[in-house]
Symmetry: C2
Subunit: 91 residues, 2 copies
């Protein structure tokens, strides 16, 4: 599913898709910067709870997947081998 | 569990408690406003994924509970009867 939310109020609807085990691509070009940050933080929290993964696809475009799906990147390694959430310091 | 995070980097550790079915009280007085917003958004996303509830306890103090626990407020009604996430318009 691809979505392009403009405001944080749309975050729960997007999170419902993840809860229902659907991968979601979020394009944030319609969202003001503060709203975009809030959407990504909320959906990141949802994804973390579900044991899923997130990956930045491009400028303002993010892929979130529930736990049942792996993300393969260009180099063939799975994204989950890397730090999923960049704000967490590596151990 | 009561925690008083100062930065967003602590959000995942808090979310782990919710995933492990522990209620969490977050005191945000140590956190700068932008960081506080990010923490609450992330933990709200986690709580939403888990089917839990959140409630503002005081200025900068929030209670988050996983789905297995109800929140009773002063009037005796359960908090889950109200809109859990205030940014969602009622239907």
């Amino acid at each position: 599913m691809v979505c392009d939310p403009a405001s944080f109020e749309e975050a729960q609807g997007i999170a419902d898709n993840l809860k229902n085990r659907r991968a979601v691509i979020i394009n944030l070009e319609k969202a003001e910067q503060g709203q975009a940050r809030r959407i990504v933080d909320f959906i990141s929290g949802t994804t973390f709870a579900l044991g899923g993964n997130m990956q930045k696809v491009g400028q303002g475009i993010f892929l979130f997947v529930p736990s049942s799906i792996d993300i393969a990147n260009e180099s063939g390694r799975e994204a989950k081998e890397k730090s999923i959430f960049p704000w967490v310091k590596s151990e």
